[in-house]
Homo-oligomer: 221 residues x 2
């Protein structure tokens, strides 16, 4: 790799890591706003999405410039393509944070729920996957990326448990339908954070091993 391209790729990595950190914080705050019914925190997350969107576009333009200027091959080409796709997935997780924040706002307008759902564990696991998928990218570590794929099942299980809880609550307290449907959305949105992290992990495995693992059964190392 030319020293110049190497420098550009380092810059690209740093931008991606910074974007991922911003997005992770947005998810954290959105879920916090759900629990505390903090409308101003939720609004902050919603307002923050525009900056995430701008950074995504900026990173994509960088990738296209690198492709056009350096016409990289082999590992470098694969890294830049993976970076483009992962950038896109990170931004989509940012959108999800905004969607969760909107649910928090909506919950704030409704009377308190008798049996509120606690999303702490699901949020923790989904964001652990997100962080691990980015770690795997930075260290080009396919083993770490495979762990992310295996973790997805745990989040699916939590999602199903929460769904069952909401379903039972809807039968018992149909007058709380608005709040309970918001809970149902939030659970599904957190599950999509996990799915997005799995997508990132799969792109890392491809990057490292040149093997498209998407749609193959999970085999945790």
């Amino acid at each position: 790799m030319s020293t110049h391209l190497q420098r550009e790729v380092e810059k690209l990595k740093n931008k991606i890591i910074a974007l991922a950190a911003t997005v992770e914080k947005a998810v954290q705050e959105a879920v916090k706003a759900v629990g505390t019914r903090d409308a101003s925190l939720a609004q902050k997350v919603i307002d923050g999405d525009a900056a995430i969107d701008r950074t995504e576009v900026d990173i994509e333009e960088d990738c296209l410039k690198l492709l056009a200027l350096y016409q990289p091959v082999a590992t470098d080409l694969r890294f830049i393509i993976a970076a483009m796709k992962i950038n896109n997935d990170i931004e989509r997780v940012g959108d999800i944070a905004g969607n969760i924040a909107e649910r928090a706002m909506s919950l704030g307008d409704q009377p308190p729920v008798k049996e509120p759902v606690d999303f702490a564990q699901m949020n923790k696991k989904a964001l652990a996957m997100f962080r691990a998928s980015l770690d795997a990218l930075m260290n080009q570590d396919a083993k770490r990326a495979r762990q992310v794929r295996a973790m997805d099942d745990e989040v699916d299980t939590l999602n199903r448990e929460i769904y069952d809880k909401i379903r039972a609550a809807l039968r018992k307290n149909p007058e709380q339908v608005d709040a309970l449907l918001n809970y149902s959305s939030i659970s599904r949105l957190l599950e999509r954070v996990a799915d997005g992290s799995t997508n990132i992990a799969e792109d890392v495995i491809y990057l490292v091993e040149g093997d498209i693992v998407r749609h193959k059964p999970v085999s945790p190392e």
Copy 2:
């Protein structure tokens, strides 16, 4: 463009169109299975997802080969990058068809709903967007792509109407919670078909105009 690359790009286009046609049919059949509670049709859609996944991987490998072999620049580079992203979005719509089919299976296990939701109109509009976004790609027609973005609002409105209907039904018939939650999922899934089509349209606009329009306000024309 070299004649050889031109031929390869034409092949790539044909593969993408064929994949999109398969995915469109899968969504059609999944929604049909919801209305008719046809478990064997739903199972067919679920089983068909593996072939869609394989084709996506195949197309992605083609794109990577073209990038590595021809090191294209300018329009050709942009087309191949757009094709990779759009291929990914088409496959995700395929996943959504599978998810709708799963909801159809689940509905089939439940007693008939007093006021069933009709998804025909939402399905029609979402698939019109999907088709139009692919037309825009094939004809490199940014105007057509902009129409897709504008249509997204109509689907959002339908989604909101269906949501209100389901919410009212949940209050009135809480014993039908299982079926009604399935309806709520299906509505959200169709809305994601529309979102996927919007993503495709935005990539087409970028391809044609070199302008990243994602996250910009919609201005039809």
